[in-house]
């Protein structure tokens, strides 16, 4: 079954095939179509959709419903994501699964409704208070808006940790054709840690408070061990990198732009390749280094170098990185990437 759909709609197609139980959210451009679709799909499936009074409310409603072991989600954009950070910290602290979709827009502050990638640090580095990490997935197509939503639920339950789909206004608003999943996933419900108002779960406690310092440190060490285990879930795509002299890298919409640039560079006889992280947390460090060792690297992003800083952090060879970025709702131009790559490989082509 193929369907030509908007990215925001594809998120909810993925969510219902992941077996989502409840959606709590507040509308915001350019993420609103996710709520529109959820408000139709979920009641028709006998599931719960509730328009919350604010994103602080959404996040805490997720906290409540996730406590019962249910598959919960929300979606928002910059200003709403900021309001959700309290809840995300508590979800991570209490080790509860939840999926949040961030359709990034320009910021800081009210900014505007056009696409940007300025929430990278907020999503990847934590965002709320305390020692924690989100799982962060970065779709680059409408198909991945669907597929990575399903993966987000799987990983979120596997590690009992919040997962963020970090997309942007382009991916939310654009349409492409997708293959609709065959069947609804059958993630089993668990009584091990959830609180369901029954005898099996009566002695369970969902909390993020550890009054003694030793207990709190033990909890932090346990969480960090979990984050280390999550490293094995790192995913990326390498396009024409094997024989490449220069590597372009970006995630999401930026990666799509970089892919166009790679094709043009190849036509011009310049051996360019694309490295695209699919998971931003965990970061695909090994694959990045494997494909870029000894090569020049051009980073592209719709933000102020937040992703570039992480690329440098994870690279063994830190000297060769150039940034081509735009902000405010502008997108990097394919031609700007082509020029930067030509400049970097002068004499090599």
């Amino acid at each position: 079954m193929r369907k030509f759909v908007r990215g925001n709609e594809a998120v909810m197609i993925g969510a219902v095939y992941a077996g989502v139980d409840a959606y709590f959210g507040y509308p915001i451009t350019p993420a609103s179509e996710i709520a529109h679709t959820a408000s139709e799909y979920l009641p028709c499936l006998g599931k719960e959709f509730l328009q919350a009074e604010c994103e602080t409310g959404s996040a805490n409603m997720m906290f409540g419903a996730a406590s019962a072991g249910k598959k919960v989600m929300s979606a928002s954009s910059g200003p709403g994501m900021s309001l959700m950070q309290e809840g995300l910290s508590y979800l991570a602290g209490a080790q509860l699964p939840a999926v949040v979709v961030d359709i990034m827009r320009a910021g800081p502050g009210l900014g505007n409704i056009w696409p940007e990638q300025g929430d990278y640090n907020q999503a990847v580095k934590g965002g709320g208070h305390g020692n924690y990490k989100n799982i962060v997935l970065a779709p680059a197509s409408v198909q991945e808006m669907c597929d990575l939503t399903i993966l987000a639920f799987e990983l979120s339950f596997k590690y009992r940790n919040p997962a963020i789909i970090l997309a942007d206004g382009v991916l939310g608003q654009m349409m492409e054709s997708i293959v609709i999943p065959e069947k609804v996933s059958d993630l089993p419900e668990t009584d091990d840690w959830s609180v369901k108002g029954n005898l099996n779960t009566k002695n369970n406690l969902i909390c993020s408070i550890y009054m003694d310092v030793e207990g709190q440190e033990r909890h932090n060490i346990l969480l960090n061990k979990k984050y280390e285990e999550m490293e094995r879930e790192a995913k990326s795509e390498s396009y024409l990198t094997d024989d490449a002299d220069i590597i372009l890298t970006g995630y999401g919409t930026s990666a799509r732009i970089a892919r166009s640039a790679v094709d043009i560079l190849r036509e011009k006889g310049i051996k360019a390749g694309l490295f695209r992280p699919i998971t931003l947390s965990p970061f695909p460090t090994e694959k990045l280094n494997a494909c870029s060792s000894g090569k020049k690297i051009i980073v592209t992003e719709m933000s102020n170098g937040q992703y570039r800083d992480d690329v440098i952090l994870h690279l063994e060879n830190k000297e060769s990185v150039t940034l081509v970025n735009r902000m405010g709702g502008n997108l990097p131009k394919v031609s700007a990437l082509v020029e930067a790559a030509e400049k970097a490989t002068e004499g090599k082509a």
């Binding site: 079954m1 350019p30 809840g87 108002g197």
Partner: protein, 470 residues
């Protein structure tokens, strides 16, 4: 130490230290009494095995030490939002939330208020001791005028800090709550009444009748810097002047309201509408084409792009469609970018279109210079075209609005452009796929299909008459 009620754990093993049969509350504190009353009522209603208790942040954070049921410890102020969340996915289970006056009255007021307004299915116990106890006796929204706290050292000045917040009275303005009562635990008589109200609120939960709210005036002798008995006496006298006790509402005899039913569908039915048998195929011989459609919002720009995109999907091409979104959709200009390719599409936005369709002057001015050498600009002929077109680009004025008008569908200018593009060979698809996509785009208004087909044909005829094939 309080007398055991079976709604509480035998030993408070989650509590640190050795005194696991005593609560952590201070002598004379109302929380200890309230804990006992809720525990008793839960036991009497035999609710412990089914209930989920949502605790606050404040002195009662540790209520999970005591109640013999499943527990969630909520973020500060958010117990109501958390209770809303779990009540929505466990609609048959009694949910109990407990909040203090900083938690509910200040930081989380909106969450509690909105939950009350929705009539969410939980019992909410609100403990009002007129100050923030756990953090050291600071002012609360409920602090009395002139009352000295650690942040109102000269007494609460109502001019600068507002009046005591009367939550029962505020909630009483709402339609949805089933039960609202204010009680006190200052003396035996009041404790008996408090127990009744608490039990009623829990019974409403057991019967799933909706939102039940009990405000409990509760002394905090520690922060009142007084001995417990004197504190309770003074507290009763002063507090009840501002916060009169009594029942505000009891609609528990009425049946619970039932929500409107919605049609039930399967996942397949909901997400369907997809088409069988279409596979996207790699075809390196197919040259990628970039189309930019632009004009005023309301001219059908986005749907014109969508028809082209859907036709391309039918042919197994890779296709992306990207709109300008947001306020631009209304009134101002609208544009969308459609890319059709024989392999995975890179950037879904277009810097240099192969084909530009401009239905108004501003769009023509904005996008004409970006068109690729060898490309085509197709623009509404009734607009001014004395702008310079880039070299090597074919600019064709096209009378879309007159063709649409002549065929009786003035709004079908977009369809005229579709016909012109088809006639000029700008759309590398079978004509049937284009007209099928056009008909599909009008499926909500089938009476428009035939007139639009006429416009499509008329536009094609205009092209063949003028020999505008590209």
């Amino acid at each position: 130490m309080i007398k055991r009620s079976t709604g509480l754990y035998e030993n408070f093993t989650r509590k640190e230290g050795t005194a696991t049969r005593a609560t952590h509350y201070c002598a004379g504190c109302g929380h200890g009494i309230i804990t006992k009353l809720i525990g008793e009522a839960m036991a009497e209603l035999d609710m412990q095995n089914d209930s989920v208790f949502v605790g606050p942040v404040g002195c009662a954070t540790f209520c999970y030490y005591y109640f013999d049921c499943g527990h969630i410890s909520a973020p500060h102020g958010r117990a109501s939002a958390v209770a809303t969340g779990i009540s929505r996915v466990l609609p048959d289970k009694p949910i109990i939330a407990y909040q203090g006056d900083g938690d509910l009255g200040a930081i989380g007021f909106n969450n509690a208020f909105q939950a009350a307004n929705r009539g969410d299915n939980f019992a909410l116990f609100f403990v009002n001791n007129a100050l923030y106890a756990m953090t050291g006796g600071q002012m609360a929204p409920t602090t009395l005028p002139g009352q000295r706290t650690t942040t109102t050292p000269f007494g609460r000045d109502i001019v600068k800090t507002g009046y005591p917040l009367k939550v029962c009275e505020v909630f009483e303005t709402l339609e949805a709550p089933v039960f609202i009562e204010r009680v006190s635990v200052a003396d035996t008589k009041r404790i008996m009444q408090a127990k009744k109200a608490i039990k009623k609120a829990l019974k409403i939960q057991k019967e799933k009748k909706g939102f039940a709210f009990v405000e409990i005036l509760s002394p905090c002798p520690n922060n009142m810097r007084d001995d417990p008995v004197k504190a309770a006496e003074a507290f009763t006298e002063i507090m009840e002047k501002t916060y009169p006790l009594g029942n505000f509402r009891d609609r528990s005899e009425k049946p619970a309201p039932t929500p409107e039913s919605v049609p039930r569908r399967t996942e397949r039915e909901l997400t369907g509408g997809g088409r069988e048998g279409i596979t996207t195929k790699n075809d390196p011989s197919f040259r990628e084409r970039k189309f930019k459609f632009s004009g005023f919002g309301g001219q059908g720009i986005l749907s014109l792009g969508l028809v082209v995109a859907e036709a391309a999907v039918s042919e197994g091409r890779y296709v992306s469609w990207m709109p300008s979104y947001g306020p631009e959709q209304r009134g101002g200009s609208a544009s969308c970018s459609v890319i059709v390719g024989g392999k995975e599409i890179g950037s879904p936005t277009i810097d240099d279109p192969d084909v530009l369709v401009a239905m108004n002057q501003p769009s023509l001015e904005r996008f004409a210079s970006s068109v690729k050498e060898g490309g085509v600009i197709l623009f509404e002929s009734s607009i001014r075209s004395d702008i310079g077109f880039p070299a090597g680009v074919k600019a064709i004025p096209f009378p879309a609005s007159s063709i649409a008008n002549e065929n009786g569908v003035p709004k079908a200018g977009n369809t005229a452009f579709l016909g012109a593009m088809a006639g000029m060979g700008l759309l590398p698809f079978k004509e049937k796929d284009i007209t099928d996509a056009l008909a599909e785009s009008l499926s909500a208004r089938p009476q428009l299909i035939e007139p639009n087909m006429k416009v499509f044909e008329a536009a094609k005829k205009w092209v063949s008459d003028k020999e505008h094939s590209i």
